[in-house]
């Protein structure tokens, strides 16, 4: 199942440690370039899969895994470097833990997998998280080029939208559980 979209997704997963190492080595220009490239492949793999009708089950799992891995790894890194407020990381991490735990719970309770469909809030939250991370990496590369205040504001909004999306997913999961026979 290693078609082009899945290969791009795997490359995105491989980019996660590469970005973290680049930050540690002070190569923030490279980290930013890799992050932007990862963002481009995120759009590309889905588009190619749809256009070439090569959507696969593996891709459906790998794509969100790559997104979450990239966002959470960078959020933790930027929080440790003082660019992201701790409460933002807490909200985003909690939302993801609740969603993953909820998905697993529903699967183990019913033996069926709930269909993962991102909501508008979920998509907006991901966009804002990626925007904030992009700003954070840019300000590391060019410290005086972008003040931290707008970056922190984007993260604050992202955290609120993420929490709203989380509540939406939990409600959706509960509804699904009530309607699905065990």
């Amino acid at each position: 199942m290693l078609n082009l979209p899945n290969t791009l997704t795997l490359l995105r997963i491989a980019a996660i440690p590469a970005i973290l190492i680049a930050i540690d080595e002070g190569r923030t220009d490279l980290a930013l370039a890799l992050f932007i490239a990862a963002g481009v492949t995120d759009g590309l793999d889905g588009a190619i899969a749809r256009l070439t009708d090569s959507r696969s089950e593996l891709g459906a799992f790998l794509d969100p895994l790559a997104d979450k891995g990239l966002v959470l790894a960078l959020l933790i890194k930027l929080t440790l470097l003082g660019q992201v407020d701790g409460w933002v990381l807490t909200i985003i991490l909690t939302r993801d833990i609740v969603c993953v735990a909820g998905y697993m719970m529903l699967f183990f309770l019913t033996g069926k997998a709930i269909e993962i469909r991102p909501s508008v809030f979920g998509k907006l939250a991901t966009f804002l998280q990626l925007l904030g991370l992009c700003g954070g990496l840019f300000s590391m590369w060019h410290p005086s080029g972008l003040p931290l205040l707008p970056i922190r504001a984007v993260f604050a909004v992202a955290a609120v939208v993420t929490a709203a999306a989380g509540i939406q997913y939990v409600m959706r999961g509960l509804r699904w559980y009530q309607e699905t026979p065990a």
Partner: protein, 283 residues
């Protein structure tokens, strides 16, 4: 039974996932400092990595109170540039008129003594600050030339140059503000003090205080770095207070503007460039 098994499996899976996440987060919190050397190395690692910068321009207001309580105000610009392992710092006084144009150049080398020169417009010539003259006051402030040298070197010096010892690891102690205290003494490099005590704030590993302790234990000078603001990933102190208890003098430095990454002409950071430093900075 059939209902409990999936729940058990889920609980086991969830516990494993949480343990893995906890381990990841605890490891991600930076290396814990078991020795003074570890703490300094972690600070150096961050400074050379995510907090790395190549050039920095700072505008400062400096206020000095002498032992009689008389206060003097100064306005100055500090330009700094990193060249490999060397750091060049140029300080130029903008006001008041009696010190305007005074320029001070410091070149910190990784492998040899720091070099310092000063240009005093009243004398019209550049003077090299020899190691014997390093204890003199820097333009009437509570800082000596040696203090300025150690401000850059406190963390940068290797263990061979200035062996370190962990005095107090207050990193995890509640109410202790997450500080690690490291003492440094002269090694291959003569510090000019009996010891230098460096307080690092954890987990960011930012220098928050330097204590310059004289040979007899008296004559301690204390520099507090405060109002730390994050610029990019670089924690930058915006208020520095140097207190010389023995002389009853105190100098407060307030940073009014910081810009990283500015282009700076090469001739600014030379001994020859000191005479024209004010013109070069203002144009």
């Amino acid at each position: 039974m059939t209902r409990r098994c999936p729940v058990r499996r889920f609980r086991r899976g969830l516990a494993c996932a949480m343990a893995a996440l906890g381990l990841l987060l605890s490891r991600a919190d930076g290396a814990s400092a078991d020795t003074g050397s570890d703490a300094l190395a972690e600070t150096r690692r961050l400074d050379a990595g995510p907090r790395r910068w190549t050039s920095r321009r700072q505008q400062l207001n400096l206020s000095t109170k002498d032992s009689r309580g008389a206060r003097r105000e100064r306005e100055l610009v500090i330009l700094a540039r990193k060249e490999g392992e060397d750091e060049r710092t140029l300080t130029v006084f903008l006001s008041p008129p009696e010190v305007r144009g005074t320029a001070f150049l410091q070149i910190s080398h990784a492998d040899r003594e720091t070099e310092q020169w000063i240009f005093l417009p009243a004398l019209g010539r550049v003077r090299r600050i020899t190691s014997r003259a390093r204890d003199q006051s820097f333009v009437g402030t509570a800082f000596s030339y040696r203090d300025l040298e150690l401000l850059t070197d406190a963390v940068e010096l290797s263990e061979e140059q200035a062996p370190s010892r962990l005095l107090e690891d207050a990193g995890d102690a509640p109410g202790k503000d997450g500080r690690i205290r490291v003492e440094r003494r002269s090694g291959e490099r003569e510090l000019g003090y009996d010891k230098l005590v460096v307080d690092l704030e954890t987990p960011a590993y930012v220098v928050r205080e330097l204590r310059f302790v004289g040979a007899d234990g008296a004559g301690e000078k204390r520099l507090v770095l405060d109002d730390i603001r994050q610029i990019g990933a670089i924690p930058t102190p915006h208020r520095l207070v140097m207190n010389d208890a023995a002389k009853g003098a105190e100098t407060t430095v307030v940073v009014t503007k910081v810009v990283f990454g500015d282009e700076m002409p090469d001739d600014l950071f030379t001994e020859q460039g000191l005479e024209d430093a004010l013109d070069l900075i203002e144009n």
